[in-house]
Assembly symmetry: C2
């Protein structure tokens, strides 16, 4: 029974890694589409999101099946419940990549954001992709040092998010309202993507350290801060 459970957990882990990889690819493509106003690439991201959604649903079903058949307790139970939460966060990260792609499609053939912010959003996109890639590796290796890396990447994303608002609210900002709307939404999407990566990373860390109360508190605090 124990062995069966162990195999089930490996299945859960490999599925989380697989979804994280798809999310990384989605944000990588969405960022490129955003930078180059590549509507074909944006369409790819939008069409592919359903795959991430379906894999998240399948993982949830597996987790529920494990709870029903193997009735884990204590740490094992926490692992399975956390898998349900992680799949929800990863699915959300996929949605956000799709939203970035939708902005590109909505404005095409115009660029989503004016040149003044192009470098900022290119960097934000790179950082989001780095966060997702590092999260994938954290889920695969359970090397907890990677969680700290993700937090540092997210700090850089947050700083850029603040800089976008400073720019948009500065006297030098003379663009039309649509550019302001797009910059506001795009910046928020990029920021939240990073926040979700941190949220998943925290779950991995707290599963390893077993500090459940802090674990849940941290998630809620993240929730308050992020959304």
């Amino acid at each position: 029974m124990r062995e069966v459970f162990h195999q089930s957990l490996e299945d859960v882990q490999s599925r989380l890694v697989e979804i994280a990889e798809l999310v990384t690819i989605a944000m990588d493509k969405a960022s490129t589409a955003f930078e180059k106003s590549n509507v074909a690439l944006a369409e790819e991201v939008i069409e592919a999101d359903i795959i991430i959604d379906e894999k998240a649903v399948a993982l949830d079903e597996l987790a529920i099946e494990i709870l029903a058949r193997q009735q884990p307790v204590a740490r094992d139970l926490r692992i399975v419940v956390s898998a349900l939460r992680m799949s929800a966060s990863l699915e959300r990260m996929g949605d956000i990549a799709e939203h970035v792609a939708q902005l590109v499609r909505m404005r095409f053939p115009e660029r989503v954001v004016p040149h003044g912010l192009k470098a900022t959003f290119t960097k934000m996109g790179e950082l989001d992709v780095a966060a997702a890639r590092t999260l994938t590796e954290l889920l695969r290796s359970e090397d907890l040092a990677l969680a700290e890396e993700i937090r540092e990447i997210d700090d850089q994303i947050d700083a850029l998010h603040v800089s976008v608002f400073e720019k948009v609210l500065s006297d030098s900002w003379d663009h039309e309202a649509s550019a302001t709307v797009d910059a506001t939404l795009a910046s928020r999407f990029h920021e939240r993507f990073g926040d979700h990566a941190v949220s998943v990373a925290k779950k991995v860390v707290y599963l390893a350290t077993g500090d459940w109360a802090t674990h849940d508190q941290e998630i809620d605090t993240t929730g308050v801060a992020d959304d």
Copy 2:
């Protein structure tokens, strides 16, 4: 054992209702604070959010304890897992009410949005409160007709959300960028609050109808649409 489980579920249900009530109060106050630029009321909402967070954490812990001690299967298991997801959505609704209040505090003593959009946001706030109040009643009574009411309220919120962007992007919109940023964020917060209410309502319905696959698909679809 069955009786114990039944009592546990009643405890879970009453906690969900309690959190939904607090969320309703939070959005009611946040909307009033937003309309009147009442920073004291905004502070109340911001300070009170931690209570919602703590009650959501306590509910999650109770759900995990039920899974560990009573090891429910089949529909009972779905109910407990759904409670975990509902508490996450309700906690998020509380966060969104807090974000609306934070906008009020950030702009005070200025109004968050210009007069041209005041009526729209007042209506959006009323609809969000109506959605939360109806959701509270749905959780209490399990009268599934209320789920359809919530969906109709959300449709009205979505229509107003679209109208905000039409207004902001129209030639008649001559406000500074900060007003555009605030209107964009405030409208998105109000829209997502309604989406979360629909998401929780769907869980109640699918728990009653037992159509799990659709249940999960629906949640993911909502996710794609909302966030």
